[in-house]
Structure formats: structure tokens, C-alpha cells
């Protein structure tokens, strides 16, 4: 009997640029300014986002890989970058009922990978809004 393949984690970082405005319809204008500060500016502002996707799985004895990186990149390109890159996040259906904070962006990207990516287990998603702010999400 052969030993079970060791499980490894694989992280990959992706970049996209987008704008957003933090504004909650349930709050009045004064409350929005109080909660979101300069992020409530009606015209929006933007960021260079970095998204780090962590997947895991047994290391294939032949290829030495957790999963084919081209599959992960292809999925990210088609299902994440094509949706968010060079977009105003507030205009996207993904945020029709949610404020596009980077917490919610992180949750949405996690959902996209978790529901669609089959080649490895999706462990967690990290979204960096600036060099100073980052968020991580995993639902288990």
C-alpha cells in the first residue's frame, strides 16, 4: 500500500484595478459620511486590488503539483478579473445588495472560487485594498 499523498497549500496572487464608493442606502447622508468618511465621496475613488487565493490538495506524485496553475489562472481570469478589472464595483450585480467594502469583495471572490473552481479545494481568499489594508475570508 502506498502512503497517502501529502496535502499542500498553494497560493496565487492576482491584481486588478477598480473604483468604488462606500454608501449604504439604509443610512441617511449624514450617517453615511459618519460611517464611511472619505470613502463616501459620491464620485468614488479607487484602488489597485491584490487578491490572494489559497487552494489545497494532495500533491500529485507524478506532476508534483496541487493543481495545474494554468487552470487556476484561467478560472481567475474568466471569473474574477473579467468581472472586476477596470470596473466601478458599485455598478456590478455582485454588489446590487451589498456595499462594495473589501470585506464584501473578499466574500464574493471566495464564493466565486468556492462554487466554480473544481481542481483543488479552495481554502481562503485574501483581498488587499492598499498596502495597509487586507481582509481574509473562509466560511469553514
Amino acid at each position: 500500500m502506498t502512503a497517502a499523498a501529502p496535502i499542500a497549500h498553494l497560493g496565487r496572487r492576482y491584481h486588478f484595478v477598480a473604483s468604488h464608493r462606500l454608501h449604504c442606502d439604509a443610512y441617511d447622508d449624514a450617517r453615511n459620511r459618519e460611517v464611511y468618511g472619505k470613502c463616501n465621496n459620491p464620485h468614488g475613488h479607487g484602488h489597485n486590488y491584490v487578491v490572494e487565493v489559497m487552494v489545497s490538495g494532495p500533491v500529485d506524485a507524478t506532476t508534483g503539483m496541487v493543481c495545474d496553475l494554468a487552470l487556476l489562472d484561467g478560472f481567475a481570469s474568466e471569473n474574477m478579473l473579467a468581472i472586476f478589472d477596470h470596473m466601478n464595483l458599485n455598478t456590478l450585480p455582485n454588489f446590487a445588495n451589498r456595499v462594495p467594502t473589501t470585506e464584501n469583495l473578499c466574500i464574493e471572490i471566495y464564493r466565486i472560487f468556492k462554487e466554480g473552481f473544481q481542481a483543488a479545494k479552495v481554502e481562503r481568499v485574501r483581498a488587499e485594498e492598499t498596502g495597509k489594508n487586507s481582509f481574509e475570508y473562509a466560511d469553514e
Partner: protein, 136 residues
Amino acid sequence: MMLLTRKAEFSAAHYYWVDNWSEEENVRAFGKCANRNGHGHNYTLEVTVAGEVDPVSGFVVDLKALKEIMEREVVGVWDHRHLNLEIPEFKTALPTTENIAIAAWKRLEGKIPGAKLQRVRVYEMPDLFADYMGEA
């Protein structure tokens, strides 16, 4: 002569669009950047000043003053703003990285006591930046 550089960051939205071009011409020239809902960046502003090192203080320039001038003249005005829609310079010029560097230079020129403004560098992303050194 000594050169001293100070960095600051700001986040802003922009898009590229020339009003008297057709949509097709705009998309051909600017690609994804022509999306008029805008997109955005974390910009880095680098301001380089030149001067002699003061023999007593050991400084070229008052660093705290330089930081405050950059904040007052540029970062505080542009941070969390939409460059096309809210910043007067970009009513008449596209907010490209090149034009942002020029606009920052114009805002800072003559405002830094005791040192000469040598160069303004603006990074739109870590691998894309523009330098402006004033009129030749």
C-alpha cells in the same frame, strides 16, 4: 548637492476619454481605461528636492514641512477623489500618470522653502510610473 525623496500615497478614481472622439476611437486608444464608470488606483507620489546639507542640522529640507506641504497641496486634495470629475486640472487634461505628475509638480513648485523641487514621480501601479522635472 544632495537629493532627498519623500513618498506619500493616495487612492483615486479615473478614466480616459476624449470627448470629441467616437466611442470606437476612445476604446481603440484607451482599452479598458475608457470605461466611463471609472476605475481606480493606489497612487504613490514621490517628491525629490535638491539642496545643500545644512552643516548644523544635517538636513537638506525640513522633513516635517515637506510632508505637510505634500499633504496640503496634493495628497489631501486628491485622496479618495475622482480625478476626472473633481480635480480642476483634469477638466482639460486626461488624468494619465504623465499628467498627474505634471499637475503635482505645478502644485508643489515654489512651495518648498529652502530647497529646489527636482523631480516629481507618480506611480499608478508598482510597475508603471512617470517622472516630471519641470520645463527644460
